[in-house]
């Protein structure tokens, strides 16, 4: 077994309870049965996904929920048609039965299939093992210890003047996967955490405001909560003052402003306006009825001026601590990194093996993912990141270059249309910029733009010291709906002349 060099700082072994299942025997039973029934391609996954959700309200325990999803999945191609089936029992009989069901599904579905499935070639990787980069398995820490930590953090916020309520939550996932298609057999494990605290202030007139921590979800272990990768103590100390100032802040005047956007806000705009727009299955119309299509159609590859020339966006499944990072995807394709936008021009797409074959793009760049053994893998988002400028300015220097603008920090509300043109975002904190200086907070702020107008208005990109890896656990796509974790790194940026709405006025105030 080959130990992948990426992320091999973890506890060094995949969950022994998962590996104790007869994974190879299950796979043999499934793949043999599929071949006997006429499948021209078959692959097998077994997964164990442990989750734990803890929620506190005003320091009191509200939710504690431990989940453990276990199962196997068989995907086949029969006479050019997909078939997929899953089972919950990890027995050879269930695996063979799932293979037979997958073949049945393909035969029923053949009545509505007119496009034979072909898959791009991928080198055989043999037997491989991969673990994500983490130090402390969160499932090795007692629930009581985690609740105590969240209660302590909640208590610090509640003790501050002006904080009326505090919500605290901690989501934890440990994902174990076994995949084989005969050529590549991969055993993998990754861990991720999402801690979050929200403080609420209610004014005497009934008006209320909230402020949430900026700590992003991360592909890290429990060490993330104890000082590695984020300084929670400093952030918690700042929140009551920031919240009080937000509650007292003036309502924004709607209009056009220059913006300095912090990575804690920009990551989500990248996700919606670049990440989804550069998925080839969307660009080709395969998500047209649900998630939508993309304005970045295939005929624009290499031509579309997506943004200003300083815009360099990459896709990867390799970034350390990235939520979409993995050694091998759910089609056995090794993790890679590639350009999506270079010099502001559309340069590439995110692919799975079918999409790569459809457009003769050669090898897939490894974006197939199924969020559970119950779901068929589809093309899902890689880590999509805006690269910083080498030797570029600090956030303070970027603010210093703005005469009349707003500095936006933290994500909140988001929405974009089904071709990824028109979007609207809000945030956690909005600071007025006057003559290169911050001049207090604003409230009721949302920014609205068309994707290419927005990215072509990008005048400056911050340096590497402004770069932060943000992300989300819950990117949705596909039918049946699947959720995927994904990260987006970016620096602070300056955007010129963006439309700002007053959300109170939008509501009819």
């Amino acid at each position: 077994m080959d130990q992948n060099q990426n992320g091999n700082r973890g506890p060094g072994r995949i969950d022994p309870e998962f590996l104790a299942y007869p994974l190879r025997g299950l796979a043999d039973a499934a793949l043999t049965r599929a071949a006997q029934l006429g499948a021209s391609h078959s692959d097998f996954r077994a997964e164990r996904i442990r989750g734990q959700q803890i929620g506190l309200s005003d320091g009191n325990l509200e939710t504690v929920f431990d989940s453990d999803d276990l199962g196997l999945a068989v995907r086949v191609v029969v006479d050019g048609t997909w078939g997929f089936a899953s089972a919950v029992d990890l027995t050879p009989e269930a695996a063979a039965q799932a293979a037979a069901e997958a073949v049945d599904v393909a035969r029923v579905a053949a009545a509505i299939n007119s496009e034979p499935i072909e898959l791009a070639d991928e080198p055989a990787h043999g037997d491989v093992t991969w673990l994500s980069a983490y130090e402390v398995d969160p499932f090795g820490i007692s629930v009581g210890e985690k609740i105590e930590l969240l209660a302590d953090w909640s208590g610090r916020l509640l003790a501050a003047d002006g904080v009326n309520h505090v919500d605290a939550s901690l989501l934890q996932v440990k994902e174990c996967k076994f995949y084989t298609d005969g050529a590549t057999t991969a055993a993998q494990q990754r861990v991720r955490l999402h801690p979050s605290l929200t403080a609420v202030a209610v004014g005497p007139d009934g008006r209320f405001e909230t402020m949430r921590t900026l700590a992003p979800p991360a592909g890290r272990g429990y060490e993330y909560l104890t000082g590695t990768g984020w300084d929670f103590n400093s952030e918690l100390a700042e929140i009551p003052g920031l919240l009080a100032a937000k509650l007292a802040a003036p309502s924004v005047d709607a209009g056009h402003y220059d913006l300095v956007i912090d990575p804690s806000n920009l990551f989500l705009t990248i996700h919606e306006s670049i990440g989804h727009a550069t998925e080839l299955d969307r660009a080709l119309g395969y998500e047209a009825a649900y998630a939508g299509t993309s304005f970045a159609t295939f005929d624009k590859l290499g031509k579309l001026q997506y943004g200003s020339p300083i815009m360099h966006v990459t896709g990867d499944r390799t970034a350390e601590h990235g939520l979409a990072t993995i050694g091998y995807d759910d089609e056995g394709v090794a993790g890679q990194s590639w350009d999506l936008i270079s010099g502001g021009v559309l340069a590439g797409y995110q692919l799975d093996r079918r999409m790569a074959a459809l457009k003769d793009l050669g090898r897939s760049n490894g974006c197939a993912f199924g969020d559970s053994p119950s779901h068929m893998p589809i093309q899902r988002m890689a880590n999509v990141s805006l690269q910083p400028a080498v030797g570029g300015p600090s956030t303070q220097e970027l603010i210093g270059g703005v005469t009349d603008g707003i500095y936006i920090v933290g994500d909140k509300s988001w929405s974009i249309d089904m071709q990824r043109y028109n979007f609207q975002f809000t945030g956690q904190r909005f600071f007025r910029i006057k003559n290169g200086q911050l001049a207090g907070q604003l409230r009721d702020v949302a920014y609205q733009a068309t994707t290419t107008d927005f990215w072509n208005s990008m005048e400056a990109v911050g340096g590497p010291e402004t770069y932060v890896l943000g992300g989300a656990f819950n990117c949705g796509k596909g039918q049946p709906g699947q959720v995927a974790p994904v990260s987006h790194g970016c620096p602070s940026v300056v955007m010129r002349g963006i439309r700002i709405l007053n959300t109170a006025q939008e509501a009819g105030a």
């Binding site: 431990d66 997929f84 599904v105 509505i112 496009e115 009825a289 649900y290 009721d444 439309r499």
Partner: protein, 475 residues
């Protein structure tokens, strides 16, 4: 079980009933709840007149809720596992009990329910119900025919069909033995012109795919694409707008999800009263609107008792098994209730009104069908559905989102052209006071929230001054 679906072909090694009994038998905690869920699902998805993905899946989940009671309150541990075998059950129960022992007290603690007034719609002893790919056998043939019709007319069909059947068995140390079978099915059909510039959508909710008329839906979509032969560009503005049932459902479902009593009491929702308390009793519409839920609503049947795998702001594991009945959320235009657990009901002094998995709006004297409302419109917009709805401001419950798959201009009682799409910014609560006309209620599939909420019946409504905030280039 209603009998139209086969039972699981080969019973699992451990039946859900036996799993529940076994867990309760080995439990040592003061109280224990056990929930066994058996689910099966089948789906087909297509794009551009051809299949894209498909599948069948089964899942089996056992959730153990251990409750340790002491002089200072009750502590809870919840552990949920898939694919549990008999020999694993003692470990799962022990794990839940360990979590309960080391955690703090739960703020929503109550005595467990000892009897349920709501009747479970199936025998405890029956095998779990199951669905399989054959549920689509007839439908897939019809769909193939619709693909041929569409292709010959230069149209492309996209969409998704899904059928899911979940049997839930709830047992408790206080003697509850309740079972509920929940079939959920939906069909979404989207037609586009060959150049993808025109789009129309239709969706239905169905418990069994038995009477799905694909050719009729395809013909309706073809008519709507025909409406788009003429198109006009309109700017962002506030427009008189006709919302079809699916669009109204999506807005009101989000409002329903935001109607938790706990947050309202905390002063942090649109339903909070400035200075304290809630807005229950406040008139939200001048029309005699009724918004209600009912587990027994024909065609929209939902669980008649509380099934809570974990506590949250709006649900409590302690309420498991509590009977649900018809609940008015808005009665005669006035806010009548918020979603309540027994815990929040105690805090608010209001009746216990748990959330129910369906939503219905109607009025005593509806103004006719959507076509009737179109016929009475001088100039206004007709929407098809809404998309990417997200909360912008909880204070007003301002929501943003997009129009999708057909916005039409109505002039002098007729659809005269297709219009560009818009981004809207609207609050469903504020909008209630600007609904000027309400049509007849019909079952509908919520386009935006159909992944989570399929059981709705809504009327078409006329809204004055619907806020189209900007133009979307999307088609």
């Amino acid at each position: 079980m209603s009998g139209q679906f086969q039972s699981a072909q080969s019973p699992p090694a451990l039946s859900p009933q036996d799993a529940v009994e076994r867990a309760l038998q080995v439990a040592k905690s003061d109280d224990c709840l056990v929930i066994a869920d058996e689910s099966s699902s089948a789906n087909l998805r297509w794009a551009g007149n051809t299949l894209t993905t498909n599948g069948v899946s089964r899942s089996r989940q056992l959730t153990v809720i251990a409750i340790s009671r002491g002089h200072d309150g009750a502590r809870v541990g919840v552990v949920s596992r898939a694919g549990v075998t008999d020999d694993q059950i003692p470990d799962i129960v022990a794990e839940a009990e360990h979590e309960a022992a080391e955690g703090p007290t739960a703020e929503d603690a109550q005595p467990l329910v000892t009897s349920a007034a709501g009747a479970a719609d199936g025998d405890w002893d029956q095998l779990p119900a199951a669905t399989e790919i054959g549920v689509f056998a007839h439908f897939a043939q019809e769909l193939g025919g619709a693909f041929a019709t569409a292709a010959s007319s230069g149209r492309k069909l996209y969409g998704f069909a899904e059928h899911d059947l979940t049997s839930t068995y709830l047992g408790s140390s206080t003697g509850l033995r309740l079972r509920h079978d929940q079939p959920t099915g939906r069909l979404e059909l989207n037609a586009k012109s060959a150049d993808m510039a025109k789009s129309a959508w239709a969706g239905i909710s169905t418990p069994d795919f038995k009477n799905v008329d694909v050719s009729s839906l395809e013909a309706d979509l073809a008519q709507r694409l025909g409406w788009a032969d003429r198109s006009v560009e309109l700017p962002a503005d506030r427009y008189e707008t006709l919302l079809p049932p699916t669009a109204l459902a999506d807005l009101l479902i989000y409002m329903y999800w935001s109607a938790g009593a706990k947050d309202a009491l905390d002063g942090r929702t649109v339903f909070s009263k400035p200075g304290g308390g809630t807005r229950i009793g406040e008139r939200l519409s001048g029309l005699p609107l009724s918004l209600h839920s009912d587990p027994a609503a024909p065609g929209l049947k939902a669980a008649p008792f509380v099934i809570a795998h974990a506590s949250s702001r709006d649900s409590s594991v302690f309420d498991n098994g509590l009977s649900k009945g018809h609940t008015d959320w808005i009665a005669n235009g006035t806010l009548a209730a918020l979603t309540q657990t027994r815990y929040t009901a105690h805090l608010s002094g209001e009746p216990v009104t748990p959330a129910i998995d369906n939503l219905i709006m109607d009025v005593p004297d509806p103004a006719g069908s959507l076509a009737d409302l179109v016929g009475k419109t001088g100039r206004g917009l007709l929407l098809t559905c809404l998309w990417y709805i997200r909360e912008v401001d909880p204070q007003t419950l301002l929501l943003t989102g997009l129009t999708r798959d057909g916005v039409y201009l109505i002039e002098n009682g007729e659809v005269t052209a297709a219009v560009n799409n818009f981004r809207f910014n609207e609050s469903p609560v504020g909008m209630l006071s600007r609904i000027t006309e309400v049509g007849a209620t019909t079952p509908t599939l919520p386009r935006e929230w159909g992944d989570y909420f399929t059981r709705a019946a809504m009327p078409p409504v006329r809204v004055e001054g619907f806020n189209m905030s900007s133009v979307s280039q999307a088609s």
